[in-house]
Amino acid sequence: MLEPIIYEGGVFKHNLVTELVEDLGGYIIQTNFMQTEVRIQLLCPHEDMSMLEDLAKELRAKITRAPLTGTDIIVIAPTLAYHHLPHHACDVAEYMRRFGANTTLIGLARGVGRRIAQISAKERALADEHDLAIFTFGNFEDCLTKEKYVLYKDLEVPSIITGTPELIKAPAYAKAYVGGLGRIAHRLKGENELAALDKLAEVAGECLDEERLDIAKDPLTIQPARLMSELKEQVPAINKSLSPAPITLQLKGARIKLPYREYKEAIENMTFEEGTTLKEIADVLPSYVRDYLVIRILPKSVTGFVM
């Protein structure tokens, strides 16, 4: 089993970490340089963690388990109107990134209000392309429990709801609820606000772990992380992408930030050392995010084997 880890340390000798992880059979997901510091998101085999820990100690670096690594979360606010800035949804999205998730933040076109709140088919399809949806709602219990469920009830991905009141149980159709994160008109910096964000990260981690368990019952033909490293080798155009995360890992596949029309064929015909091509083990679909493409890996029950 691969352990999701964030490595934070100096740039000096950080290549040793990269090499060690690759030698152990792990994967580097993303590397960010911040002047003399480096932050690496990686997946390391569980049984070899002690080697990585020793190296980090030697390099005076910090390693932390990041349960959201390799996941794609969408944060949905009923509105992102400029006169309500700063939106607490922005802080929520940013905080999830600190735990390793890739986040998308959207404001619904007509998500505001009670009776009038609605979500369009396109917005719903966009949300379903992610692993988890976090809905950041407002202050009133009545709205949260009786009206706003229309926005997430038809989603296929699990939804976590946030709002001001502390509810005993999650509203109908929601996977979980986190209180203390309602409409706040300043940047989240208070002790309670940060505690609520931590709680949200924990709840999101639990939800995603449940999803992982579900997937493990019928495992994917190829691990998304392996797919990512093969893509980097076989589709060189990815390395020229200016996006900070040209490949966004998801629990059941990946989103590739390359134009669908141009690269669909090249990606479908990628060949693995086992002799299979990607189109035999996955669906390559157009993404709802710009003109990108999405890969959905097929499970063992469909292909009959695991690589």
């Binding site: 009923p78 009038i116 009133f140 009141p165 706040i184």
Partner: protein, 197 residues
């Protein structure tokens, strides 16, 4: 009336009211309205749904006239112009644009930083008239900031709005359904209670 001597946010949902109080405080301080408002009472009932905002505005600065920032004199005999000698430069851009609109761009000149001239055939009449021309009105600026604050505080979905605003008070009712007369009545009662306090 002291700044924000009454600040009430009420709702059947107590937690929601507390959160809304925080939102209102943030917005009012962002827009520097805390010293402008004297008494404020917000009522929100999400079940109705209605949002009522009543406030008493503190008397502020009077409008700025030309006489408050400049000395006005008729030009020398035989020269058809009025001279404006500026002693407070704070509102010069507004003065220049107001005079241009009123007397025509071609008739206004600014030979130096602190002098403006108006070319006219009737200098004595214009000198008398220009003294009372209003250049800037700090109150109007406050009104626009208050309208901005209302848009920020009101729940975004409540787009059916009713408001009555005078120099000293503002009453605002918003909902996502047509405004009911009893909500307006409640808002009027609230504002009269605010005045009594």
């Amino acid at each position: 009336m002291e700044p924000l001597e009454v600040f009430r946010v009420e709702s059947p949902d107590k937690t929601g009211a507390e959160a809304y109080e925080s939102v209102s405080r943030d917005v009012l301080s962002d827009l520097e309205l805390t010293t402008t408002l004297g008494r404020l009472w917000i009522y929100i009932d999400p079940a109705e749904p209605v949002f009522i905002f009543c406030t008493l505005i503190r008397s502020g600065l009077p409008p700025v006239c030309v006489r408050d920032m400049a000395e006005i004199e008729v030009g020398a005999p035989g020269v058809d112009e009025v001279n404006i000698n500026i002693f407070n430069e704070e509102y010069v851009p507004q003065l220049l644009s107001t005079l241009r609109i009123k007397y025509g761009r071609e008739n206004i000149e600014q030979p130096d930083r602190k002098t403006m001239t108006i070319a006219t055939k009737d200098p004595s009449e214009v000198a008398k008239e220009v003294a009372d021309v209003i250049i800037a009105d700090p109150r109007r600026e406050i009104e626009s900031r208050l309208a901005d604050a209302l848009l920020r505080i009101t729940p975004e979905g409540f787009r059916v709005r009713h408001h009555i605003s005078t120099e000293s008070e503002m009453l605002f009712v918003a909902s996502e359904d047509p405004i009911k007369p009893e909500w307006i009545k409640k808002a009027e009662d609230m504002i009269s209670e605010l005045k009594e306090d």
